[in-house]
């Protein structure tokens, strides 16, 4: 063999070895598939940097992040997991999708720190069939946002109160007086929304009394759900019978339709979701909005929402005959059954369950639901997390059947049928009958 040939061969061997070692290193890293965009991605990036910067984290266990787009995220995740993908070790997990993804995941033991950091009720948002499938990162529920200046002016003006009573009698069949939003029932909220709508009250200082998220989208059904729930609504009873065709759901659906038809919500509300709702409320032309807690940062930031930021009040969703109800929905990270680096992945999950990591995540914009003793340590910086914990503790609920494998499909079904009713394409009876039949098929 000539020298040139020897040189070529040895160069090739060195290159091959380098390639192999880089592949091994890449395989050894822990890859996390996170929830893209928004505060969740920002917070996750920050805590991952902190984790990777620790001296006791081996190079082989450093965390790398991977993001899909939000559109169709759960569908893409399901397709990947069903195909046995090992492109990520840890993946996003949501309360209402645990049953759907559990067959492709492995339960994890988060260690004793987890209970101290989050508390039992929050850990349960990541459990399925009694097993812990992930570490909770963010808790989502809904706040009732309202304009403090508008409500204060209404409550201080006798003529306005008389008009309010007149409107509530016309639309709700009873004379109501304006109340502090902390004491609102759904009727009080509806009367306020009607009063502040130009189509109902030409003197209203804003165009609309509320902004309803009515797009045919599963997340909008989560926002709506708390209304029927506070009237005693549920998906199924103890025997497993579907109970969606109930007075509670009828009341909620009719109230939304009445408000939309009366012009209390923007005309394009049937295409509205999270972003549109923020834009409507942030424009200063809307008096109230039932919206995700994640919007609090944007709506109270004078730079992002200059028209309203100084006057935004936040309370829990209004009460019904069964009290208040707030739909909780947890996001977290869980272990892929086909993970290539399970040991490293579990190490990261356990670290995420520690108090310091959870506080780090919260400081960087995440919305973890923390145990009272832990949240107290960050209350000055993140007062919204205190409300988050309080509301979750006092009013949080999950519908019966809400963590089953077909829970997301139930929301999809409701979104289709309920928006069909709100848009006038079918009657309430038809919408509820179809929803009931579909849910019986999905939850049998």
């Amino acid at each position: 063999m000539s020298n040139t040939a020897k040189f070529k061969l040895s160069t090739l061997a060195v290159l091959a070895a380098a390639l192999m070692s880089s592949v091994t290193a890449a395989q050894a890293a822990v890859t996390v598939l996170g929830w893209p965009g928004g505060s969740e991605e920002t917070a996750l990036r920050a805590v991952v940097d902190d984790y990777n910067g620790q001296a006791n984290v081996a190079d082989a266990d450093k965390v790398e992040l991977l993001f899909f787009s939000r559109d169709g995220f759960y569908d893409k995740l399901q397709a990947d997991m069903a195909a046995g993908s090992d492109a990520f070790d840890l993946n996003l997990l949501a309360t209402y999708a645990i049953g759907r993804y559990a067959p492709y995941m492995e339960p994890v033991d988060l260690g004793p720190d987890a209970v101290t950091t989050f508390g039992d009720s929050v850990l349960k948002t990541m459990q399925f069939d009694g097993k812990q499938y992930g570490v909770p990162t963010d808790l989502s529920l809904h706040f009732m946002y309202y304009r403090k200046d508008l409500v204060a002016a209404l409550m201080a003006d006798d003529a306005a109160k008389a008009k309010y009573a007149e409107i509530s009698e016309k639309y709700l069949g009873k004379k109501l007086e304006p109340k502090d939003p902390n004491d609102w029932t759904w009727d009080d909220w509806a009367a306020t929304a009607l009063y502040f709508s130009k189509d109902v009250n030409a003197e209203s200082p804003v165009r609309y009394g509320t902004v309803l998220q009515m797009k045919n989208l599963l997340f909008n059904m989560m926002v709506f759900q708390s209304l029927p729930r506070s009237y005693g609504g549920d998906w199924m009873d103890a025997s497993g019978a579907i109970t969606v065709d109930s007075d509670a759901y009828r009341t909620g659906l009719e109230m939304y339709k009445m408000l939309y038809d009366a012009g209390a919500s923007p005309r394009d509300s049937l295409s509205y979701e999270y972003a549109e709702t923020n834009a409507a409320f942030g424009s200063g032309q809307t008096a109230t909005a039932l919206q995700w807690n994640a919007a609090a940062g944007e709506l109270t930031d004078p730079e992002k929402s200059p028209a309203v930021a100084d006057n935004v009040g936040i309370v829990a969703p209004p009460a019904g005959p069964d009290g208040r109800a707030d739909h909780i929905h947890g996001l977290g990270l869980g272990l892929n059954k086909n993970a290539k680096n399970k040991e490293g992945a579990i190490k990261f999950l356990k670290w995420m369950a520690t108090e310091s990591a959870a506080l780090d995540y919260a400081k960087n914009g995440g919305s973890p639901a923390l145990a009272p003793a832990v949240v107290a340590k960050i209350a000055a910086e993140r007062p919204d997390l205190v409300q988050l914990g309080q509301f979750a503790d006092a009013y949080g609920y999950v519908m019966t059947g809400g963590t089953s494998a077909k829970a997301l499909s139930v929301y999809e079904l409701q979104a289709k049928e309920f928006t069909g009713y709100w848009s006038g394409q079918q009657t309430l009876d038809e919408a509820l009958a179809r929803t009931k039949a579909g849910m019986e098929e999905l939850l049998k």
Binding site: A82, A83, L270, S271, A279, L408, S409
Partner: protein
Amino acid sequence: MNSIKNLDWKLLNTPLVVFLLLFLGFPVIVNLYYSLSEVSFQTLRAPELTGFGNYLTVLTDPAFWQASWFSLRFGVVTAVAECALGLCLAIFLAPLIEKHSALMAPLMLPLMVAPAMVGLMYRLVLHEFVGPVPYYLYEWFGNSPSFLNAESAFWTLSVVETLQWTPFAFLLFYMAYEAIPDEVRQAAQIDGAGPFQRLFYIDLPLMAPTLIIAAFIRFIDGFRVFDNVYTLTGSGPGGSTTSLPIYIYEAFFKQGAIGKAVAASVVLFLASFSVLFGLNWLSGRRKGATK
């Protein structure tokens, strides 16, 4: 000699045949099998053969027919609108573009934008509180209509689609218009034909094959619309803006009803194939008649 040529022909065709078998034949067989099976994401690798139940489910599902009607209407309305506008633009702008060919570039810009981006863009443009269209309507008329409620969403979506794809029809028609020899028009003019007579008896008949092909391509594109509709209105209130591809997508991913979704796509494939076969047959008859 003939047998050598025959062998060459077979050898030359082999890559194409292998490609078609791999990338079309295999998925078709898998799809057919899935469409006759009970299959979900959990049983993706072990589907259970059940017969024609999925086809029955699809064909008796009112939502399937609602989606088919939406796709058909959308395909026809947008194809007609795009071709009509494209033809007008091609004829009226031809003298101008002949002198300033650079004008063609800005006219083609809408084609450069991904349809999903167009949907997102109009979601912003039409938003009552941040969109420029409602803003100016409020400024000028004190009010703005609903663009995306159940009644108006179809027409809004049609306008959005037409605005994006009219340049495509325009491009084809402009090329066809320019390909007509000037001598023919001049001869007609000498014979006393006026502008409208030249348009209806010279230009349009000579452009007819391009007109038909463009209308057909635009109809197919409109019929299978997904991206911009999905990003702008989703499947719409009560499923009112569900096109057939959206119906299939939702059955597959949202409901996890893989058998039903695949059966619907097989029905769509058969319908499309029938239309193509019919057109081919008509074209064959036309050729035969002109010989």
